[in-house]
């Protein structure tokens, strides 16, 4: 069964806060990981692996560069869970 967008966003907020120290309240769908949230390339690897564990999906390395905003990541995870 597909995950709900709201649940994925909530989980992603926790992961980004844990990994990059960004307050969950400032993490929104339109935020850019590198420019707005200052998640660097190493931290992005941590975010991806944590998402895979938490949501039980696979995020192939070649797709990671497409995940520019928080919304991109949420959409990818929701679709991958279908």
């Amino acid at each position: 069964m597909a995950l709900a967008q709201a649940d994925v966003l909530a989980g992603l907020k926790e992961i980004v806060e844990e990994v990059a120290g960004i307050p969950a309240a400032s993490i929104e769908l339109d935020k850019n990981f590198t420019e707005d949230l200052e998640v660097d390339s190493l931290s992005m690897v941590e975010v991806v692996v944590a998402c895979e564990e938490r949501f039980g999906v696979k995020i192939p390395d070649e797709k990671v560069t497409d995940l520019v905003t928080v919304g991109d990541a949420v959409d990818f995870i929701v679709n991958a869970s279908k």
């Binding site: 990994v19 990059a20 120290g21 190493l42 941590e46 692996v49 895979e52």
Partner: protein, 412 residues
């Protein structure tokens, strides 16, 4: 170009005796031990159940998010460097192309290495942290401090086991002498209180096994010493070109005026009982500083509390300094801090600078019966006043591999 002189303008430390220089120095003068029983379950696997962990956990001194991408050794380096930089008056306006960093570690990020190896085995390659390499590389402490202060004159990490911290300060001294930099943040750190390095040192029979009395286990020069006590933490000194320091009105502690470096070519781990490499290092250091043995009033000894090492060092001191050794107050501060490996020469340099400032040689504790083979004047139990006037002091450090480093500091 006139001869450039190098002075100390800032100090920082996090040690088994305190989370900064002041608390550490007070505890040191009071003769306190930083050695305690380990509380980790794994201690039962080992023949040694104690170590000297830092008195203040990094979690009390830095943010969680910063800590999680730093090895413990890197955390120590940043904590001590921030204190030292502030102590130097936070000279942030300095030309960063004239700012260097030389910070050593004897082992590097061994706790990170072991933690990530366990993750690899338990969860697979994809779960290994992408921060692993910057955390385990031995130059990580120096590199992180270089980033923090935007140092662009060069960031370096000499590695010579337990001589590393002293070698780093000597390298920093040369960077300023040779006009590569005006200010260098230098020192050493170590974070190896972990079951693997402890088991490995124990396998060499290098560690004390006095499990029933940890606080009295580190006993340099005592007849019944049975090995060193592993410590962790680090020390940082900010070195600065003398005219540069005067021009900005910096507080100047003292001068670092020379260093001597030699190698034994004798054995991979045992000290040369003749101590000829140590003697030569002392002579080179004095010549480099333009001083003679009669100028030296204090020495912070390497003296780790191993049966062979302490006597070999004392013999070498006696031979190198001759009758002038009679007026050298010798302090073995590892009796209180334990042995910080790559951090040892650095915190002991911090202690030497404080000793020159306060005119007090710190005590050596736990000597119940002075080994009769020790023929130098050891400061026991209580601090000893150093003379007024122009004085100079030595810090010697030796490392597995036969590395000998001697630094000379003098009052200004």
């Amino acid at each position: 170009m006139s001869q450039r002189r190098v002075v100390v303008t800032g100090l920082g430390a996090t040690t088994p005796l305190g989370g900064d220089v002041d608390s550490t120095w007070k505890a040191l003068l009071a003769g306190q031990s930083g050695v305690r029983l380990l509380t980790d379950d794994w201690r039962e696997m080992l023949p040694v159940h104690f170590a000297a962990r830092v008195a203040t956990e990094p979690a009390d001194q830095m943010e969680r998010i910063e800590m999680r991408r730093l090895d413990r050794s890197e955390q120590f380096a940043l904590i001590a460097s921030r204190e030292a930089w502030k102590d130097a008056g936070s000279p942030d306006e300095l030309d960063k192309e004239r700012l260097g960093v030389v910070i050593a570690s004897g082992i590097g990020g061994v706790i990170t290495l072991m933690d990530q190896f366990n993750i690899l085995n338990e969860k697979g390659a994809r779960s290994v942290s992408p921060h692993t390499v910057p955390m385990l590389m031995p130059n990580g402490p120096a590199a992180n401090v270089g980033l923090e202060f935007q140092a662009k004159a060069g960031v370096h990490t000499p590695v010579s086991a337990c001589a590393s911290g002293a070698e780093a300060i000597g390298y920093a001294f040369e960077m300023i002498k040779n006009n590569r930099a005006d200010v260098v943040i230098s020192g050493g750190v170590e974070a190896a209180c972990h079951q693997l390095p402890m088991a490995a040192f124990a396998a060499m029979k290098a560690l004390s096994t006095r499990n029933d009395d940890p606080a009295r286990a580190s006993r340099p020069y005592d007849r019944d010493r049975d090995g060193f006590v592993l410590g962790e933490g680090g020390g940082i000194v900010v070195l600065e070109e003398y005219e540069h320091a005067k021009a900005r009105g910096a507080k100047i502690y003292c001068e670092i005026s020379g260093q001597g470096l030699t190698s034994d070519g004798y054995h991979i781990a045992a000290p040369d009982p003749e101590g000829s490499g140590v003697q030569r290092a002392i002579k080179f250091a004095l010549a480099n500083a333009g001083l003679s043995a009669k100028d030296i009033v204090h020495l912070n000894a390497h003296a780790t509390s191993t049966p062979a090492g302490d006597v070999a060092e004392a013999n070498a001191l006696r031979k190198a300094l001759g009758s002038d050794a009679d007026h050298v107050a010798v302090s073995a501060t590892k009796s209180m801090t334990g042995h910080l490996l790559g951090g040892a020469g650095a915190i002991e340099s911090v202690f030497l600078v404080k000793a020159l400032q306060d005119r007090l040689a710190p005590p050596t504790i736990n000597i119940e019966n002075l080994d009769p083979a020790v023929t130098v004047d050891v400061v026991r139990d209580k601090p000893r006043a150093l003379p007024a006037g122009d004085i100079a002091a030595l810090n010697d450090s030796f490392g597995f591999g036969g590395h000998n480093v001697v630094l000379v500091f003098n009052s200004l």
